[in-house]
Symmetry: C2
Subunit: 212 residues, 2 copies
DNA sequence: ATTTTCTTGTGCAAATTATCACACATCCAT
DNA sequence: ATGGATGTGTGATAATTTGCACAAGAAAAT
């Protein structure tokens, strides 16, 4: 195999994929600061990761840097976007319009980084039809049809823990391929459906262990 | 070393610590459902983790189960709380009272699981003194004194990315030992200070990689 | 031109993490 | 009592992940 080229058959460890958004975040900041070039060393210092790991991670996808010089920030940023497929807009379905769901719906960070909330669902008849920010809350009965007709592949769950599994089942049935779950409970989905969790309390509990 | 006893000198991998809150979450659910006993197999099925891994993780802290029977849920729950030091209340300082900070301040999940937001700070003079939920927003100038006088060890950052590092510096200076950072940026802190991140977009980007 | 400095990409080794598989303990049914 | 079923804790093994160290390319300095 020639140098500086990635093997398309290679299966890349998920732990590597998980670091790419972190690299992308750092690159965005650097370019925002007007910087044009960086190095694995600098990125490592910023992120608290070894430079060797950064180079090895990036090398899975090709040789993006130049010896003696480092990485062109804009170029690497673009390449990472291609790899992660975030060089486009994604539409998201949100389930749950309680306090948590409303907060998620109004969080600016999604739209700023290419994720557009396209529809919001809730089971509470009191809420159906009401405006939540820029969204009209739809009933759960419309979930499948809406998701399919809009071709949505990503959903977020912001319902109480006891309903999260049932909601996940409905989302999978509607063809959803990726779920971001804000409910503090693990959910089961078939192979091929990806799940990530947001549980701030779990993060806090992970840190209290060290507070002797 | 006798069986069923943990070695207090042993350094336990952080990745193991990171799974304990997940186990605890599952145990809480099981006991809420009225269950009294479970097994590493059942937990594994619920969580999508191998039973061997669960047994080995737990064995770092002692033998909590009984051969042939499994684990008493209430007992294991209590033991995990002891290990994680969450068998008590923790007070938290919150920095940032914008949209994100307000949402965090009003999130019920913290108090429900033993984390009590004790004070809220913001640099915007317009907001100082205003009521945000049950809190009166304090100026940044009072941060250090308030944190020290209340003996707070944990803080959450919910300010724009460009201010996150400066806020982190002030928190460290005030003696904070653990930070939950909602700003989408990596921050640098001295050894001995722990940081965890909440970045929903990073989670989404990790999943879009797989959406071919 | 030549040397020095810098930095990538990568083969190899080390460290970490996960899994296997089994001795031993317990319960239950008969 | 006894046999079968169940399930823990753990030593050994396998797999994964990280870090080291260096050849080679590129720029800057002399």
């Amino acid at each position: 195999m020639p140098p500086h080229s990635s093997n398309p058959d290679e299966i890349i460890p998920d732990i590597v994929i998980g670091r790419l958004p972190i690299y992308l975040r750092a690159l965005m900041r650097l370019s925002q600061e007007g910087r044009e070039v960086t190095s694995s060393h600098e990125l490592g210092r910023i992120l608290g990761i070894s430079s060797a790991q950064i180079r090895k991670d990036l090398s899975h996808f090709g040789g993006f840097g130049k010896q003696g010089t480092g990485y062109q920030i804009a170029y690497l940023e673009d390449k990472l976007r291609q790899v992660l497929q975030v060089n486009r807009e994604w539409e998201i379905a949100l389930v749950g319009a309680g306090d948590l769901g409303q907060a998620v719906a109004n969080y600016r960070g999604f739209a700023d980084r290419g994720f557009h909330i396209a529809c919001v669902f809730d089971s509470n008849p009191q809420k159906i039809g009401k405006q939540s920010g820029k969204f009209v809350i739809q009933p759960m009965s419309e979930l499948k049809e809406t998701i399919i007709s809009k071709g949505i592949q990503i959903a977020m769950i912001a319902v109480p823990a006891e309903y999260a599994q049932e909601v996940a089942n409905q989302l999978v049935d509607a063809g959803i391929r990726a779920i971001l779950n804000y409910a503090p409970i693990s959910i089961n989905v078939p192979d091929g459906v990806h799940v990530q969790y947001i549980d701030p309390v779990a993060h806090l509990q992970r840190m209290t262990y060290y507070l002797k």
